[in-house]
Symmetry: C2
Subunit: 289 residues, 2 copies
């Protein structure tokens, strides 16, 4: 199987490193890579992590069996458009991606008639770029696969081999089901983290608040420190499900307001109501001692 990776940052680079280092490597004949601008392919070629650095998307996918779009969601959409403009080979390659939202991307691939399986490895780091790529980034992590309409059995097999080669655990999911789940555990926390900063850091007493900030503030705002274009692309390609989750959270906050303000002169009664909320949350987290 000949791999072609479009985008060789943290995720694409870690795929290349994992495949090269892995036990399934014999099944992989070669790894080619291309990025529109990044320095990843040249560095990876020098490292012996890939076999070929292509000069264009057309050059990359030529002779490829599995094309991996390892870019942010909006770039993945563009790359699908570009792939669709290339001449169709006799044996069209399998195309997959690694973006954090799947429905729009799967639909775009279907519109273009590509043999596509959407993918999402549930792993990442705070840092970006090929220099941070690690062979063990996906080890033991779930890797969601969402077959599009025109996915052939060979496409499913190739993607399974990819996931296995990266040491991850394959999970077949419907794209919408995937997007709902990641809106909950990944995209809503990102939006909340940024909204928290927007709400607090714009207030006129921010300098004092910042001076007092401790560990709680750091962990609550960690996600807001991530890459802006990546975060925006993720939210924009999962806008419907993210909005649904934001509304659900808003309902809970309305409940908090009611509980905080019901007995303004009785902090003990207020604490009892809030303890019920916090206790329920902790139970759900499975973190009760």
């Amino acid at each position: 199987m000949r791999l072609a990776i479009a985008g060789l940052g943290l995720i694409g680079g870690s795929i290349a490193r994992a495949i090269r280092a892995g036990r399934t490597a014999p099944a992989i004949e070669s790894i080619a890579a291309w990025t529109p601008g990044g320095a990843g392919p040249a560095a990876a070629l020098a490292d012996g992590v890939i076999d070929r650095a292509a000069g264009s998307l057309a050059g990359l996918v030529e002779d490829a069996d599995l094309v991996i779009l390892a870019a942010d969601p909006l770039t993945c959409l563009e790359l699908l458009d570009e792939l669709a403009r290339l001449p169709v080979p006799d044996e069209p390659p399998t195309v997959t991606d690694v973006a954090s939202a799947k429905r729009l991307i799967v639909e775009r691939a279907e519109r273009h008639g590509l043999n596509f399986v959407g993918g999402h490895p549930m792993a990442g780091l705070e840092v970006a770029g090929y220099p941070h790529a690690r062979a063990d980034l996906f080890a033991g992590r779930p890797w969601v696969l969402c077959p599009a309409l025109l996915a052939r059995p060979i496409d499913l097999e190739r993607c399974e081999l990819l996931v296995e080669g990266c040491g991850a655990t394959r999970r077949w999911l419907d794209a919408t089901e995937h997007d709902r789940a990641v809106a909950a555990i990944s995209h809503l926390p990102l939006a909340l983290s940024a909204a928290l900063v927007e709400a607090i850091a714009a207030a006129d007493d921010w300098p004092l608040a910042e001076a007092l900030a401790a560990g709680g503030w750091s962990s609550a705002t960690r996600l807001a420190r991530g890459d802006v274009a990546m975060g925006a692309g993720i939210a924009a390609t999962n806008a419907v499900e993210l909005a649904r989750r934001i509304r659900a959270l808003g309902s809970e906050l309305d409940g908090w307001l009611a509980d905080l303000e019901a007995t303004p002169d009785d902090p003990v009664a207020t604490a009892a109501r809030i303890a019920t909320r916090l206790g329920a949350a902790r139970l759900k987290l499975g973190a009760l001692d």
Copy 2:
């Protein structure tokens, strides 16, 4: 100066350890401790960290120069009530506390005519109890002091000596000003973390979402894993300011909803709006590369 610590968990125990280990220790004649139920004082006596384990609050404060209430906010309110019921000595001690909200506590102390300086060391750990107490817990951290109406110069001096002895940096603040700031950087993040769990973990697709959860979910829900009674007491004794911050956050989330839903068929335009939000948040965090 004779210290008397009511409550000898993580914070009270760390105060005792810091004072005992510190350079200002010569100024501290003795350390006594008492808790209503915990095992801290006996353990600290065995460790040589305190000089006396008292059998009651009355026994604790007898002959004390500085009484430190090292308990959760609601317990601090109760301890103030109990202190007010004790006979007033010829030279009333200085009373301070370490709770995370100050206005209600300062007002209660004023109502009882105590010589009180509210205190809040901006430090903590995920764990509780005397066994986790560390002499360096407060090193280099801010320690807010909020003098009540009847605070005498000697009360301010004693509290400064305490803060200095713990290696922290003293910051005088009005109690309401303090409560506004910590509502922003500490209490709102806690409420958000719990509301996130409530909103997401109650949904019917929670098992799938949980299976896919990665680092982002862990950091977003870290605060919801803390002590329930402590969190409820904090929220209840700072309910007004916390509610104000929750409303400010709600306004930001309304803005997110508008931005996510304005151009449902144009993810590129949506991403541009969200990027503006994320970029502004990141600028405010001072985290731009």
